[in-house]
């Protein structure tokens, strides 16, 4: 198989691992996510373990991966290069947090939940895509 075909297979495996991880963790359940965010209520610490497991695994894995000069099926590593903090980054993060707190869905779990589609989830996904279009137009 050529590199482009390999990338489609690798993309599926990456998505599958991610989707399995979200479901195993329970992150596809908005009630559990909001339970984590609700520090004044019956706090559910699960998300802390999910983030911890993911960050530590990625931290170690990235260090092994970056010993290579390039990825297996592409020309170069594509890493963000910006270092500055600006209003777009912080304002965007603040808006995202409000939407996350209102719904219990961040983009990964919202998309991973397509198999259990309901009208409110469809509304969430359509509006999220619309938001991406607006952000792209506004932000160039």
């Amino acid at each position: 198989m050529n590199a482009a075909a390999m990338r489609t297979v690798m993309g599926y495996i990456a998505g599958l691992l991610f989707g399995l991880g979200l479901a195993l963790a329970g992150m596809t359940d908005p009630a559990r996510v909001v339970g984590f965010l609700d520090i004044a209520g019956a706090w559910d610490p699960t998300l802390m373990f999910v983030l911890g497991g993911a960050v530590v695994t990625t931290f170690i894995g990235y260090r092994l991966v970056f010993r290579r000069t390039r990825p297996l099926f592409d020309e170069a590593f594509q890493l963000p290069t910006r270092r500055d903090l600006d209003a777009k980054l912080l304002g965007g993060a603040a808006l995202f947090g409000i939407g996350w707190g209102l719904s219990g869905y961040c983009p990964g779990p919202a998309i991973a939940s397509v198999g259990g589609m309901t009208p409110p989830l469809a509304a969430m996904l359509i509006a999220m895509v619309a938001g991406w279009f607006v952000a792209r137009r506004y932000a160039g």
């Binding site: 599958l16 329970g26 699960t46 983030l51 592409d74 947090g97 719904s103 990964g108 999220m128």
Partner: protein
């Protein structure tokens, strides 16, 4: 504290981390969902769409496979017929939330995965700042909605 749920959360998190490492090792990409899917639907970079599409297919099939063959593994157990927990709000609330999530992750260049997992693992200052801001903003939102307005979402 529910140690079983926490342990399953940890295992799920390790899977998410493995996905991020896999994507970097094979394609040199950050596993940020808003970036992978956002660029697929808004920009369609030439020659760069196929893996994004198969990533989304994998993302959707993960929970379905776990429900079908997982035998009650993980924190989704006990909800026959449902891959996901019920959305907490109706259509109008979810429209507002979805728009904020799309707009916010688009402007902020990332979400819980791109900034919160990959960015923190790279010790990126921008990701640390973004993750801090969206966590605080989400916690404040839940506090206001649940404990001040008491509309119980």
């Amino acid at each position: 504290m529910d140690w079983s749920a926490s342990l399953q959360g940890l295992v799920g998190g390790i899977f998410i981390g493995l996905s991020a490492v896999w994507l970097m090792a094979t394609m040199g990409r950050i596993a940020g969902i808003s970036g992978i899917v956002g660029n697929l639907v808004t920009r369609r970079p030439p020659g760069d769409s196929a893996w994004r599409a198969t990533f989304v297919l994998g993302l959707i099939s993960g929970p379905l496979l776990l429900m079908a063959f997982g035998g009650g593994l993980g924190n989704v157990e006990g909800r026959p017929g449902a891959v996901v927990g019920e959305p907490l709000g109706g259509v109008s609330l979810m429209l507002v939330a979805g728009l904020l999530v799309g707009l916010g992750t688009g402007l902020g260049s990332g979400c819980t995965s791109g900034h919160g997992v990959c960015g923190l693992a790279r010790l990126s200052k921008r990701s640390m700042a973004a993750t801090g801001v969206f966590l605080v903003s989400a916690i404040v939102t839940v506090f206001v909605v649940r404990h001040i307005w008491e509309i119980g979402v």
